[in-house]
Symmetry: C2
Subunit: 643 residues, 2 copies
Amino acid sequence: MSQGKQTPNEKMPVEGRRRFLNTAAAAGLTVGLAACNDKGGAAASAASASAPGPAAAAHADTAGIHLKPGELDTYYGLWSGGHTGDMRVLGLPSGREILRIPCFVPDALVGWGITNESKKVMGTKPDGSLRYVVGDSHHVHASYKDGNYDGRYAWINDKINSRLARIRLDYFVCDKITELPNVQGFHGIFPDKRDPVDPAINYTTRVFCGAEFHIPLPNQGIDKPDQYRTLFSCVDAETMDVRWQVLIDGNCDLTATSYDGKLAATNQYNTEGGAHYEDMMSAERDACLFFNIARIEQAVKDGKFRTIGTSKVPVVDGTRASNADPKTALTAYVSVPKNPHGVNASPDGKYFICAGKLSPTATVIDLSKVLDWFDGKLEKIDQAIAAEVELGLGPLHTAFDGRGNAYTTLFLDSQVVKWNVEAAIKFHAGDKTAKYVVDRLDVQYQPGHVNASQSETRAADGKWLAVGCKFSKDRFLPVGPLHPENEQLIDISGEKMVLAADHPVRGEPHDFIIFKRDLLRPKQVYALDDFPLAIKDPKESGVVRNGKKVTVKLTSQAPAFSLREFTVKKGDEVTLILTNLDKVEDLTHGFAIPKYNVNFIVNPQETASVTFTADQPGVFWCYCTHFCHALHLEMRTRMIVEG
Amino acid sequence: MSQGKQTPNEKMPVEGRRRFLNTAAAAGLTVGLAACNDKGGAAASAASASAPGPAAAAHADTAGIHLKPGELDTYYGLWSGGHTGDMRVLGLPSGREILRIPCFVPDALVGWGITNESKKVMGTKPDGSLRYVVGDSHHVHASYKDGNYDGRYAWINDKINSRLARIRLDYFVCDKITELPNVQGFHGIFPDKRDPVDPAINYTTRVFCGAEFHIPLPNQGIDKPDQYRTLFSCVDAETMDVRWQVLIDGNCDLTATSYDGKLAATNQYNTEGGAHYEDMMSAERDACLFFNIARIEQAVKDGKFRTIGTSKVPVVDGTRASNADPKTALTAYVSVPKNPHGVNASPDGKYFICAGKLSPTATVIDLSKVLDWFDGKLEKIDQAIAAEVELGLGPLHTAFDGRGNAYTTLFLDSQVVKWNVEAAIKFHAGDKTAKYVVDRLDVQYQPGHVNASQSETRAADGKWLAVGCKFSKDRFLPVGPLHPENEQLIDISGEKMVLAADHPVRGEPHDFIIFKRDLLRPKQVYALDDFPLAIKDPKESGVVRNGKKVTVKLTSQAPAFSLREFTVKKGDEVTLILTNLDKVEDLTHGFAIPKYNVNFIVNPQETASVTFTADQPGVFWCYCTHFCHALHLEMRTRMIVEG
């Protein structure tokens, strides 16, 4: 077995690591690319010491990040929750985590996966149990209007089970989850920013979803990897139905959309279609794959699609072989060096930038040229490449400051490099005096995603940069084998980047967005009428029996539940409905039933329900689990299950 | 229904609220005690404005809490995770959350509740599914030696399902969970600090657990609340078996233990045995119930116990009626005003302090006098009360600075009051010139638990005080109806308290401890030999079939799993064992199987396993979910399930 030869504690000579990483170096690569093959950041230091240009070690003592008690943050951050399958809401610049919004994975605080309402969103098996209890969320993006966030929705992906979740940004709750058919390894997502055809639709109506793993279609257990393919999916932003899919070559990594709504793209590795990692990196160039949205939707209208397996979703053919003719092409494969990672849209609307990962380069693609190609005005699609410049080792993701500069993470160098896009284009065009690298900053350690305040909008403001460092090593107090990751905050308001703070985060956030707080106007008390089961008056409380099915109706008002006790019989199927009649902001109640696996909360004016079988006789003190009142401990009701 | 008359937006006159809250005021109490009956902290402000003494509004800009990037915290904080059933590890003074240790509730990041190893700790039903998926953890305490933490273990309770979990503080993992028999509403816990008899045992060997809800014993569905009782349990710190239980009157709230190992105690509300909250608060005084550990254990040795239901645990009789004679008493009920909340041991070893909750007082109990009573040298047990002084409205919990001062949270006043214990004793003894209140500080808002650095040890150092505020209201950016709670950090090194920072936390932490970082020496890489199933060499990898039972043996070394693909048959029961052979600190791998509800991590040199039925045919890309290497995306293996 080839990996039997790995010797992770050896290092390749620095010179060797800085070469363009080609196929011949594959055996050495598994050594040279080891994320951290020494303790305490020595590997990162070695790499950064050898990096060209000045490696700034500056940090800020007083960069405005230290809020006084009670002072509010000025930015929201929406963070992927990684394996906990939630979306995390941070305040920035403080880095404080204010909320976790459960989506793909049960959450025992709010009762996500416990209440009937949340189970309906999450999806259940025929026996009523949850279909999935694990998740792997990577990317968070929000809905747009006129090129900036409009505060309606955010979306987040689950890579393990190919699910897309939508979060309402008024109540900060997940309201819909869609599982993509015939997709494995759903990774990149991005909402569109306007309609490709109708200029009146200047807001998000679609969400694009890239599939990473190529599989048999339909997936019926055949083992012929050369026949595996992936699908690129379009989900309706309102209904959350899958509108259409595109059959493509290659494995999708990230997704980006243009400000004019005409193009979506995904950067691709493994265009080789390999099943083993050395095959996945055998080709010198992979692709950034563009989708012509208007043409795809016309093809669907024209019936030029098929369906796969039991799915009814129309699938159009976007494979390379079927789309060679620009006049009819639905897709365009722009070549990008070796296993690129990340594709990001510049806030001026002109470029998509792909980072090289196994190449030390970033590739700048001119969107107007891509459109020219579709219009038959550009001979070769690769002529859309405006620049391809060296940045450092392991470039992954790019953010923008709205002043023409890009910030790219260098995984292997453990750096962020600030570079000027127009200077890079000049350099690429032949002007070797053009100094495109503006600054470098060491980060701790091995950075993945990066994002700047408002970076993915027309309103990029170049104030803060957050860097998701995959390894924290020695940056926080030791807590056993599982280290937190390190989200570092960098002040990018000046010419030089200044490291402002380290923030530990639970694995593994991947991506995030940061935007000004005034773009959201959250609601903090629910409306009773939003809940069909709401019990609007304590007088409606009681126990209603229908054979073995029993409904228990309850309300809460601190410090009491409307029923002081209730009796059911062993074997009953009990549905308990609880409305919180307290109207005061922040006055949430909980409801737990010992030994019955029930705990959930009801926020002010919220209604939730649970259904369970009363299979254990006895007295069960149902109690309020969310501190509400000086008599909180005394806020209980008794469920008496008669044997 | 009485709560139909509640009008939460009305306030009682302040004068009325400040009276001793007696039974007659019960109807008004439900109004007057409303936690937050106005928006944005107005209620809290009203209460504090009327409080006696100066209400300090100071805050610190430079109190040493603002670490530079890379600077380490000086204290660990172990925080209860509340409804997420985990233990959270914070660095202080920064307030950064470094780790969450799953205990009672599944955790999709580490695979807690997914791996066979974690399911064994959590407990399963006969069908192999988890017995419980919800939790409600309140209190965290750690093992002692010579009156200070020794870094071996921490414990945490689950109130919903009466479970006690132990955390190893070398690897920061939960290794054992015990469910207490015949207990509902298990609330307070405290380890003992030395043995009551053997002076050589100067470290923790027992953990005491108080039960809050009185139930039929055994719990067989009878509805005669006057026959309900609770149990106080002793768990062996090493084996985690329940050693013995004590049958008692009243509902247990918190637990405390003496530094000499002789006494444990629980403060009690509802000594009335009421089933409704107005009955639970009908008596003017409740109790702090003391346990004579040596006598109880002698009684068990002497066979003076019974058992309850199917439990084999010996239960001795600690009810009030059976323990009137001090010479033979196992327990002593010291009276404390009205529904007391919290009992805390002063670091000088002399006193337990109970806060009044519905009385504005704290009661200081002299432990030497309690021992005198058991020795027949004190006529009445209430003569052990050294002081009972007014502090303010809604006193809940108390911390200490090691300089003779106590810090008590006032829930209704939204304040922390600093008071001098010896001065309070003098005042109580008749010296009305003794000024025991030293300082007051408004907090935001409605504080519950409080703890100071090293407060519950002989080494209380009086540097930092953390206050768990139940309501944050306007202190953080709005994130919908569910607000975070607010853990405020206060500098207590000077005469006046200085508010240093607000930290949002996810509901609902309740209690926590804070101690110096040099008390722990965590390990950051596992030992292969600690895992019986470890696959120590990639060459041992493979698929072993035994009828329909299939074992898949895998190792991980970035960027590859030892098997590049493996094939099983539809209907097989598959056990997959994965050993992470990477040895480098922080080089954790994940393992996810799409559509199969499998995701877990393996830290360096760790082994974990999962068992599932291969019920869906097809190709499933198992992938590394924990970023490990530049070729992380390519780190995959294929599970081929033949139909």
